[in-house]
Every structure is written in structure tokens, then in C-alpha cells.
Amino acid sequence: MSRPWRYWAVESAAGSALVAAGLALVFLYGVLWAGGTTRHTVLFSKDTIVYFFIDVVLVVGLQIFSGNSGILSFGHTAFIGTAAYAASLLSIDVALKSYVSPGLPHYLETHSVGLVPATLLAVALVGILALATGLVVLRLDGASAVIAILALLLIANVVFGAWTSVTRGAGGLYGMPESTTIGWAFGTAVLAVVVARVFKDSRTGLQLQGSREDAFSAAAVGVHVRAARLRAWLLSAMVSGAGGALFALKLGAITPSTFYLQETFTIVVMLVIGGMTTVSGAVAGVAVVTFVREVVKPYESRSLDLGVMHVDRLTNLTNLALVALILAVLFFRREGLVGRSELDESLRRLVRRGSRNR
């Protein structure tokens, strides 16, 4: 049949498989070498690997919308947070629930579910919210859209903080079972990569990328830009939601500030460093940031003597490293480390060029 089908069947599969193979190597490392939770003998603890997979889900989730549409979303953390709160409320032990969250409806207060149903329900809830918000904010374009989407994050933050009878306000929720295993995190990360790549190569995905380059031209050749954006928004929010649910059920305790600008910045940096237009770029960005973070973190507790003043603790030194990294990428390699073509596409081009030379 026509080219798009070949794209979907072969190229998406090949592309996802390459990234998934990379993730599988990390998974093997996590299972075989990085046993335990301490980092005495290995650079990356098993926990770090689990958070790496969760970050892959979150960043790939954001890539689905922002990478294809070109509208950078600072609002996805709202979806991540909503899913995290929902999954937490669904899975806190029944004995603890009425104490932690007395405002819950009776049925929810007396029932708890495991990781998988909690995640699925959280994703469904986020889907509904994404549809409702998307219908509104995606009517806007350009900078107005960026700011309206940011407003969603603010609204979510206010609700997490103010709905004290359910969310416990600024104190946050605790007592969730830490049920996100490395296996579930890895599996979800692979699923997210496949979903993102298949969407990117799909009809809607290609139309959306067209609108990213030139929205007016895309509309002129019959692309319904707003509908394409809405589909991406929905899918993207749901993938982010899955990541948020896993995140909460790994952390075991969350507060409103867990899902605010700091988290947003980290996710955006991961996406942009690797290159937001590609799925492999998103994953590569997570890998680079995770690596840098692990290297820099031990220095945060150091003190610094500048002669004129003494600093007890280099609080958030990791942030400085991330800022340096992101500014370097913006100054010298604006399309991100991976660039505009997926890894498999670049690889194929390389092989083709190699065989031609021979």
C-alpha cells in the first residue's frame, strides 16, 4: 500500500526497537548490577534506574505534544501531579486513608487498589481533564497558548494546596505503597516510547509536524491544526499521567511542590537537551540529565569558602549544572544533541552513505 503504512509497520517498529534496546540495556544493568538502594559500589543505584525509566515516560509524554506541535507545554506537570494524587488516593492503605484524607467519598475511603488499576484509573481521569482543558486552551495560539497552558499548572498547584480535606494541603499525601518496581517502570517506558513513535509517524503526527513548521501552510493544505493538536494533547497528557502515577507510587509521599516549576523545568530540560522533535532525543536527554545529576549531587552538601563569604551548603547545585547544560545546548546546538532525525533514521543514512562510498 501507500508509504504511510510502510512507515507505521516497519520504520516505527525499527525506530522504537532501537530505543527500547537501549532501555533494555539500562534495565539489565539495573537488575543485575545495581542491586539494593545504596550507591556504595555502583555509580547508579537501582532507585536511580527506576526514576530514570519514570522520567523517560514523563519526557516522552511531553514530547508527544510539544515535540510534534512545537508548542512548549509548561502545563504537563499539572497532569503528572493530578495522576500522582489520584493514584496515591486510590492506593493508600485503607487503615490509613480516613486519617490522611478524610474528605474522600465513602466508597473510595474504604477501598484500595494495586499499582496497575490505580495507574489506569489515574490515566483515565487525566484523559478527561486533558480533553476539557485542551478544548479551551488549544483555541489559543503561540505565546498566548504557552501562557494559558502555564495557567493550568498554577490552577492545579492551587487545588493541590487548598483542597486540604482530600490532598492534606501543603503537607501532602503519604503512606502510599512503594509498588513501582523496576520491571513496571521499564515496561511503561518502552510502551511510552512505542506509543510516541507510532504517533509521530502517524497521519495526525505528520500533519502536526507540518503545522509546527508552518501552521498557515499546513492549514492551507487541509490540515485541521486544532484537532491534530487536541489529539496529541490528549495522548500526551495520558502518557504523562501514567508516569505521574508510577512516580507517586515510587516516592511514597508527595506534596504540591513536588509538581511545580522545579519538576517542570527538569522535564523541559531533559526534552530540550536531547532534542524535542524526536523520541530518541527525548530519551537521550533523560539519560544525559540523569547522568549529570548523579555526578553533581554529592557536591551539594559541600561548603564553599569564597574569602569574602562562606557558604554552608551548595543547595540545588544540580540546578546550576542543568542551567549550564541547557544554555550550552541553546547557544551551540539548538536542535538538541540528537538533532532533527531519529537515531534510526540517522543510522540508516549513515549506513547508506557508507555503502555508496564502497
Binding site: G70, L72, V136, V137, L138, R139, L140, D141, G142, A143, S144, V146, I147, A148, L150, A151, L154, I155, V158, V159, G161, A162, W163, T164, A215, F216, A219, V225, R226, L261, Q262, F265, V268, V269, V272, M309, V311, R313, L314, T315, N316, L317, N319, L320, L322, V323, I326, L327, L330, F331, R334
Partner: protein
Amino acid sequence: MMAVIAVTGPYLVQQAINALSLGSTYALLALGLAMLFSIMGLINFAHGELLVIGGYVMWALLEHGVPWPAVIPLTLLAPALAAIAMERIAFRPLRGASLVTLLIASFAVSLLLQTVFQIFAGTDKGIELPSWVDDVVDVGPYTISVLKIVMTGLTLLTLLLLTLFLKRTLLGIAMRAAAEDFEVTRLMGVRANAVVIAAFALSGLLAGLASLFYFTQSGSVGPFDGTEPVVKAFIAVVIGGLGSLTGAVVGGFALGITEVVLDAALPAGAQPFGTAFALLVVIAILLLRPQGLVGRPVGLT
């Protein structure tokens, strides 16, 4: 009947001053943001940190016993200098870059400054305020803060001066032209750097004034104090209509009025959600007028 008017009259005056003074801070910040956006397409996240720099300068000077007549100009000046430095270091290499690139860069600068504040200043610093900030005038059974009246007055004066600058001086006219079309303005022989630096300096100056207002009310300054006001100012810019300076001022006051009205109208149980309701109102406005209250229709939708 008369009694109702006697009570509501002063009450309305009090609430109106509350709304106008809150709106003043938003309008000053929004104006600075709109200026940068219209000239170079930058949504400046780091604008809030300019506000905080003003706050820290105020705190440091007062700690060292510097008198108020010296504190005020220095608090105005410091954010302006910081804004110029910010332009030179972070934004000049990115001139002409896309909206998204500039946005991420400004987000990074914002985080950078927050982290620097965290490392070097640590926790919140209490600002020692003179007693006159608490002065009030009585209007019937209600009191109105003198500071808020002064703030509103000063903001209006600043807006007047700024309008004169933009309409009457060569640099002001060049800036307005650049906001319409930067390339053509350059072809007319206007130096790009002059316009951009002036825009950053002015936006910093406005942030400095906002900083005086904001921190004399809050009484303390912390590393993350810039986030909330700047996001509110973003919203104000969007309500007014992106790229329109008049719109930014209108949006700032509109947001201030919305918040004060909601604050008075919401039942006690819903008070903590005030900001969320205000944002919902804003989004509703945008649904009806995606181009904002003052702006012209642009874009796809």
C-alpha cells in the same frame, strides 16, 4: 436606604484602592514583560527574579542603615542593571531565535538566579520597614492604607511618564517602531542594540518600582518570591492582548480587580482557591476574546 449607601460607599472606596494597588504591581510587571515580548518575542520568565533582586537590594541597604531617600533610587536601579546584564549574557547570543528557544533560555536564567539566591541568601529575609508604611486614613468605618494610595498614584505617574517617553523621544519612537517591525526599524537606521538594551533597562526599572511596592507590603524577601507575581503578570499580559503595551496595563488592573472582587465575593470555604478561580475567569475571557481585551486578532485560531 441611606444607611446602605453610607456603608457601601467607604467600603467600595477601600476595595477600589485595594484593587488598584494590587493591579498596579501587576501592571508594572506586565508592562515590562510586554515591552520585551513585542520587541524581541521573548516571554521573560526571569522577570520575577528582577523583582527579587530589587527586594534583596532593599533588604541589604536597610540592614546597613542606609536612609530611605538612598534606598529608593538604588532599589529601582539594581533590577535595571541586572536586566541589562541578563540581556548581554543570556539573550544576546539568542537574538532572533524562536519563541520556544527564548522561553526556555529565560526559564533557565530564572532557575539560575533562584539557585544563586538560595545558595548565597538562604532563607527569607525580613525587611525592616519604617512605621509610615502602616499609616492609614479613616473613611467612615473602614481604613485605607496610605501606602496603597501612594502606590496607585505613583503607578499612574509612571505610566504617564512612560507614555511621554514612548511618544516624544527618539528612542521611545524607535522602540515603538521596533515593536511593530524590528527589521524595518533597523533598516531605518535604528541601532538594534540600543532599542533592545533600552527595553531591558526600562523593564528592569519597572520591575524595580514593582519591587518597592511588593516588598514594602510583604515585609520579607525569599529566593522564590518572584514566581507568583511574574506568572500573574504573564496572565495580565495575555488578558490585555499580547504585544500591546496598553493591553498589559489594562490586563494588570483587570487581574487586580478580578482578584479583589473574588476575594470579597467567594464564601470562606472557597477562599483558598481564589487564584484558581481568577485564572478560570481569565481563561473564560480568552475563550471569548482570544486576542485579549485590547489586542488585535492574530494567529491561526
